[in-house]
């Protein structure tokens, strides 16, 4: 049964690397067109969980899952799942900006071209649209043919977001997207995410609790592979119910 409100429904979901259980029996629903933040100390499994949502962990040998992770009612780990299509619909932006070593234009047009779009005018439109949505258009419209690598760190990260947006995703997964950026570029990306959540569901893994507090609607706190607490971001940061969450957010952990 498809739940309209939640784009992901994660049920009794575990992830193993070989014998190591990195994510333990998680139950979590991700609401459509909202920002959900996942916080927790290093090694708590938050990136592993994030990467499971578009099967990035497939690339790691000996990784396997148990339980169910549904994307719009369909089992992400079903044998029939078209992983390429899944990753188009569920895009990912990483910690370190990783534009392709090609022009700004080609970075954004790459995905649509692979999908078979050849007409120049159509590609132009997609590229402009994606760059506008990533709030980068004004800065690069006169240097679309320059290398993506020539941009500043914050611009490169927005270029990566534009590259994902050109694929018309329904979800964007962010793994520490601003940890390599200065506060101004970070604020720029945070504002952008708040704007994007109107049309795209966002799941963000962050070590920066203030960032989670600033931008997310829901927050999940993970520890040692378990989901300790999940709730409205307000509640998690003002009045958490679990002692571990309280210790973590007040910096009295361990």
């Amino acid at each position: 049964m498809v739940d309209d409100r939640h784009i992901f429904e994660i049920k009794d979901f575990s992830i193993y690397y070989g014998d190591f259980m990195a994510v333990k029996n998680i139950n979590l629903n991700i609401e459509t067109n909202k920002i959900t933040a996942i916080i927790g100390p290093s090694g708590c499994g938050k990136s592993t969980l994030l990467r499971a949502l578009n099967r990035m962990n497939d690339l790691i040998l000996y990784s396997r899952v148990e339980g169910q992770a549904l994307f719009q009612g369909f089992d992400i780990y079903d044998k029939e799942t078209d992983v390429i299509e899944l990753r188009r619909r569920v895009g990912m932006v990483f910690q370190k900006p990783n534009p392709f070593p090609s022009s700004v234009y080609e970075n954004v047009a790459y995905g649509p071209k692979i999908r078979g779009i050849k007409k120049k005018s159509q590609l132009d439109e997609i590229v402009e649209n994606a760059l506008v949505r990533a709030d980068l258009w004004k800065e690069v419209k006169d240097k679309l043919n320059e290398s993506g690598m020539s941009l500043s760190g914050g611009q490169m990260q927005r270029l990566c977001i534009a590259r994902s947006l050109a694929q018309q995703p329904e979800v964007l997964l962010f793994d520490e997207p601003t940890s390599a950026l200065d506060p101004i570029s970070t604020a720029h990306i945070e504002n952008l995410l708040q704007e994007l959540q109107k049309t795209v569901t966002i799941v963000i893994v962050t070590h920066n609790m203030q960032q989670a507090a600033r931008i997310s609607v829901y927050t999940a706190f993970m520890y040692l592979g378990e989901l300790v607490e999940f709730g409205d971001t307000d509640s998690i940061f003002v009045n958490p119910q679990n002692k571990l969450t309280e210790e973590y957010i007040t910096g009295r952990f361990g």
């Binding site: 609790m209 203030q210 507090a213 940061f237 003002v238 009045n239 958490p240 969450t245 309280e246 957010i249 007040t250 910096g251 009295r252």
Partner: protein, 219 residues
Amino acid sequence: MAIFDVELRELRERVLKLGIMVENAIRDSVKALVERDSTLAREVIRRDHLVNAQDVAIDLECIRLLALRQPMGSDLRFITTTMKITTDLERMGDLAVNIAERALELNEEPQLKPFVNIPKMAEITQAMVKDTLDAFVAGCSRLPYEVIKKDDEVDDLTVKNFEELLGLMLQDPKIIPLAIKRTYIAKYLERIADHATNIAEMVIYMCKGKMIRHTTIEE
């Protein structure tokens, strides 16, 4: 101990110090009135600037901690509660000054009748202030709920005091100026009890994360 923990402990101690200053002001103002001690009344008025200075210092420290430490969870609730309750404590200090001022005026006149209701109100009110501060320091207990209940006793005594004085004023209009000052004093104590109730409500918020102000209280 982490620096932030030390800072929080020091902040708590400053609030306690302010609380003790205010408790003393209330006690001394009522004593100055009942014992007709104008020197003590003047002393209460003179000491008020220390209460004000401490209130400002605590506010500034809270703002500094909010900006620099970006507290979350129970730390956030503690600091925001502190900012609110010091405002209540400072207002209590002002009301004690008002009592001392009326005491100075009344001490110039012959005594109308011995004080009965006002010392009783003062006793309950002082206990409320002490209990709220204990609750603030000790954290979660039943104390703040007890304080909130006691407020009704003070309210009843305020009404009783007024009715008694009204009777006297009707019998002898010449005493009206003195009697009115006595009703003022009862009103000041009643307001102090209200501030103590505010503090108790904020302490409950600090402990439980639940805002019970302007609601019917349930435990």
